[in-house]
Symmetry: none
Subunit: 212 residues, 4 copies
């Protein structure tokens, strides 16, 4: 059935590209306007197709949204989880590497879009929240736990109240993400010094240590 219609105009866009383009356009739209505020009209325009074409690939706005969410719940966590396993350096180096990638991801926006969507639409989409939790949060938690355990084993990390809540490792990064997302236009947090401060606090705390 591919050969029958060979009278396609000069620009030959591949059929397979369409869904990808639409998903990308939709992610941007959902990020910018939230679910309810997102207009198929605009998604179509962004994707360079007609409004009706959207419905050729996705049953409806909701299905499109789910597809977008699915795609965005990406591979990030898996990647860092894997890279942790083979890491051979110190915990500080490991965490620094992890956080560098994390802040980098934040600045790449795509996943922050997902975060916004999740926060905004969560209450009306428990299933989406459940999936995200299973695919991202839980896995992330496990990965962080491993890092901490490894650190303790290696004598680089204190076994303490702080280390019972491994999320604290990345909590400041979420703050950074939210801040950038909401107040980014008004006041930019400089990522490098923020990261430095983050690591400093993480490893050394802010308190003055008095040791004999």
């Amino acid at each position: 059935m591919t050969e029958t219609k060979e009278h396609i105009p000069a620009y030959q866009r591949r059929k397979a590209d369409r869904p990808v383009e639409i998903l990308q356009a939709a992610l941007e739209e959902f990020h910018a306007h939230g679910y309810a505020g997102a207009k198929p009209d605009r998604i179509a325009k962004r994707a360079g197709v007609s409004r009706s074409t959207l419905y050729l690939y996705f049953d409806n706005k909701d299905a499109l949204f789910e597809a977008v969410a699915e795609k965005a719940m990406g591979t990030f966590v898996d990647e860092i989880a894997e890279s942790t396993i083979s890491f051979t350096g110190t915990t500080e180096e490991l965490v620094r590497q992890l956080l560098e990638r994390f802040y980098d991801m934040i600045l790449t926006t795509k996943n922050s879009a997902m975060m916004r969507i999740l926060i905004a639409e969560g209450p009306s989409r428990p299933e989406l929240v459940r999936r995200y939790h299973a695919l991202v949060i839980r896995k992330g938690h496990v990965a962080l736990e491993k890092i901490v355990a490894r650190g303790i084993e290696r004598g680089e990390v204190r076994k303490s109240a702080a280390t019972t809540v491994p999320q604290l490792l990345i909590a400041p990064a979420l703050f950074f993400l939210i801040h950038k997302m909401v107040f980014g236009d008004l006041e930019e947090l400089e990522v490098e010094s923020y990261l430095t401060a983050h690591l400093d606090m993480l490893f050394n705390g802010i308190g003055v240590k008095m040791r004999a």
Copy 2:
């Protein structure tokens, strides 16, 4: 608490109560559904009035939203800023007190509603973002800076990379807020141990200190 009150006849209720009830109902609705998803219909029902009564007190959905936001941009920051001035104990005690109040506020939900609204509607409401930034973020930042400066002065806080970014003091609390807001139904973070861990990390860091 979303119950629909109905039994007291309209004419017996006092006019002055109306805006308060409506604002409360609207806050809940905006929190639950975001701006676009919020239906005047439901707000009215929640407030125990008819749809048109809403418009007796607020010009339109937008005005209602602004009023809700205004009200929620509460006095919290001012209160803690003030209480810091007169504090006489150690920095650790001061920060503990601050965070206890902060986590308490989070669990009181109202302000987390505001946070969700801000994250979700921010892109389409720069003015709201600007006001929140001026009223809450900026003031909060100043208050945190003072705490850090006071700590350094008193020799309780290290002058370090970490202390150049005073937001780090409360960053983990925002993580807690977001987590509770989005994943609260799936996995509860126990506030007391989280707070303990937060403080531990904040003051001591997670790293093993080796001093001579």
Copy 3:
């Protein structure tokens, strides 16, 4: 006079005045905005009473409108009809007098309000049109016919095609009325010279008469 009266306390005002004031206010409102565009709210304000008071005197907007119309279908025609009977001067004097009063009435606006209402609302109010026709148009027609007949009898008016349509006597005045009503703000027709011209055309025509 469209001022909103306010200073006299309600209890001092006489009950009997209320309907009159309301009708006056309603006439102005209907004149200014048409039936559909007229708002009970504004009528009440103009009349210096509360919205609900309107409904104390008139069942609903429609009834109020009918009452206004009724009142405006005034006595004007009857008056001029009567004054014609007793007139003893020439036809030209009679017609001049009639038209002077007619133009005067036009400039007093109240009846032009009625005309506007009739034109605008006529299609949806056949009954109103019927009543106006019976009370004003028909009577006016009869009065004009009498004037013409009297003129012919007295040898002051030609029996001609023109005199078979007695409405022609006042037709130019309606033009004046409409013009003032619609374009009055843009281009004022000076009433005195218009009246002079009207009478001149009426009695002499514009044509050059060539008689042997």
Copy 4:
């Protein structure tokens, strides 16, 4: 023509027809109910489309109204203005021709619709009034002035009070228009005899001329 067309499926009809059909339907609706009373619902039904299709072609009710008005402020005046220039007969013939066309136009209803709209909506649409005045009234005035001047030049028209107000030439026709519009259902003015009478009065007046 108020019939609702239904049988031709929407997709078979041609896009170009839509605005024309809608405008026609809207003219009828505005004519029948005034601006405020006109319901998009009914316009759509009259035009044989769905309510939302209206908004595909016109931004809103107001824009639709303006388009209707624009279209109705037709070419009539220009046409008669032009035809006057080349006319070679007597003034009486010229005026008769003009009036015949004028009365014919009146009976064709479309422009009388415009007149009703103008009278009814004028107060709340000064801009519309201004445009109509510029496009129709002013031009008409100039055209009438030319006719009178030509008549005087040719010795067929008296230079007199009457001829200083050229609107008097068509004033009786406006009376006819209004009468037909408002009272047409109750009492028909027979156009031919009315026109004859109109011309008679115009040229000869109603007065008895006594010349030596």
